[in-house]
Amino acid sequence: MRISITNFTKTFGDTTVIKDMSLEIESGEMLALLGPSGCGKSTTLFSICGIHRMNAGRLRFGDKDVTKRPPQERNVGVVFQNYALYPHMDVHANIAFPLKVRKEPRAEIDRKVLEIAALVHIEELLQRKPSQLSGGQQQRVALARALVRKPDILLLDEPLANLDAKLRLEMRSEIRRIQQQTGITAVLVTHDQVEAMSMCDRIALMNKGDIVQVCKPKEMYDNPASDFVAGFLGNPPIAFLDGIANDGEIRLANSEVALRLPSNVIDLSNGTQLRLGIRPEFFQPENDMKVTGKVSFVETQGREDLFDVTLTNGAVLRSIQSRGGDIKLGDEVTWGISREHILAFGPGGERL
């Protein structure tokens, strides 16, 4: 079901967490609310499900205005970060609880519980207590409980934060599979860009209570709206060079080095403050626009090596290369930047 938030404002006491935010989530879509901690993404999530009251603005599910509806009437399934399973009930009773509250007949409840247990692959765990389950199993139970009454919307609050690295990979694809199989509209809150990019159809990147950019993961990575977005997406992260535009080139701060600007910003007036973003995959030995610097950090990641290269003015570029070179810490290297892949930002961080 389509979710539309218009002019949403949320304050706690005197602090305004979210101001005048608007967001449309398409039916059947999985959207990630991504952002650093404290940016208001969980607040937004809890306002959608009704735990927080909106101070201003409207919230609609489909054509229905639910702004003033209590959480019980919204038909939203929520998976909490710590799963919030009911510790005194076994798995069956946990999943059956939303149906019991609605006073559905027993046989019906049993049928639905078994059906949803099969979907999330926990049929053999139904008699266990939550304390007898592993993190990944608890996660599946929480998903089953959220989905069993066929909610219009599924909300996931940092669902993978409490899992170890291997389980996280597994549950990432599991959650996506379940979401696609049920065709439910889902909102995922996370601070992990990899999670957001790999699981979701679209990402809404938030910063300080504002949505900075909403688009498809690939588009956001290739075409960030600001240096904040560029810096938030990508691992290893993008590197920035500050400088001043001069005759189609950029003169880097505190140095004599000048680099050709990418063709889309080549006609900037002289003296404009600039910020260039260069992703590690576009700073490679074979590229033609050479810069020289000293290797200041080497990190082996298995398949690839990650290098930090400090330029003469102190700025740092990152490069990620497949293994094989015998480059050591302290070596002087001259590598090239792929000119057309440079992202240029203005002094306020906006994309040029």
């Binding site: 809890f46 499900c49 009704g50 735990i51 959480p71 019980q72 038909n75 939203v76 399934g77 929520v78 909490f80 970060q81 710590n82 799963y83 919030a84 009911y86 510790p87 005194h88 609880f97 939303p98 509250v101 609605r102 304390s131 409980r145 959220a146 009454r149």
Partner: protein, 276 residues
């Protein structure tokens, strides 16, 4: 299993310090079942004579021991029931709901808990007299309940504080009303606290002496503690100390039994919440 220190020195010290208590308790039990020649310590014969209050009326139209015991039970049980019922609700409200003057209530709870209640006794006496509840069991129950409540509420609030918010939010999301959430999801989590309050206030009511003595001095609805006190002062029984000991043992026995059965649950009060 290897210990990093030896047990017996600790046990020895504990034993020495507990010795006076142990001797007193031993003699309490021994005295009630034996006779002695005055002036000696070693008993010379076994007898059940001191327990005659169990099968004969002692004297003068006073309630028999069973009536008094029933009164004590009614007193302790209703105090425990009311204290527990109010504590589980008030504790939840203080822990979870935001209402006007919440801070004030929390503060006064602590003050009331620490308040020397004896200083209130004259005011309470006057109030009960105005209400016509002086010299009735109901009156004492109400007063005792009121005085036990701050402790109960405070402990229950502590238990509620350990229950994660998310459980409640999950319940609300699952479509349950706040009341259902409390009754079906939260209350089972604080059950150890509930049991502890129930037992604790029952024991406290069972052993209460000052309130019944001052507010219910008549002989119509005596409780065991005041019954024991009147025995001590009574000239008819010629201060039969063995009889008094026997009544004392009879009075203390339920406390010991309840404590033995429920000691784990009682310890929860000091553990402060459910375990992981």
């Amino acid at each position: 299993m290897k210990h990093n220190f030896r047990n017996w020195p600790v046990l020895l010290v504990l034993f020495i310090f507990s010795l006076p208590l142990l001797i007193m308790l031993t003699f309490l039990v021994v005295d009630t079942f034996t006779t002695k020649v005055p002036g000696t310590l070693v008993p010379n014969a076994f007898t059940l004579h001191h327990f005659r209050f169990l099968w004969t009326d002692l004297d003068d139209g006073r309630w028999g021991i069973y009536g008094v015991t029933l009164n004590t039970f009614i007193f302790a049980a209703s105090t425990a029931a009311v204290v527990t019922a109010i504590s589980v609700m008030a504790g939840y409200a203080l822990s979870r709901l935001s209402f006007p003057a919440r801070g004030f209530f929390l503060g006064s709870l602590i003050v009331l808990h620490a308040f020397p209640t004896v200083t209130l006794i004259i005011a309470i006496f006057l109030i009960l007299q105005i209400l016509g509840l002086y010299n009735t069991l109901i009156g004492v129950i109400i007063v005792k309940t009121a005085l036990e409540l701050p402790f109960g509420i405070w402990v229950m609030k502590g238990f509620y504080d350990t229950v994660p918010w998310e459980i409640e939010m999950a319940g609300v999301q699952d479509g349950a009303s706040r009341f259902t959430v409390w009754w079906k999801l939260i209350l089972p989590q604080v059950q150890p606290g509930l049991m502890a309050i129930l037992i604790f206030s029952f024991l406290s009511g069972w052993s209460e002496f000052v309130l019944p003595m001052v507010l219910n001095p008549g002989t119509d609805a005596q409780v065991l503690s005041t019954y024991l006190a009147t025995l001590l002062l009574d000239t008819n029984t010629n201060s039969d100390f063995n009889l008094i000991s026997a009544v004392g043992l009879f009075y203390a026995l339920p406390v010991v039994i309840i404590y033995l059965i429920f000691q784990n649950k009682l310890m929860n009060i000091y553990g402060g919440g459910t375990k992981g």
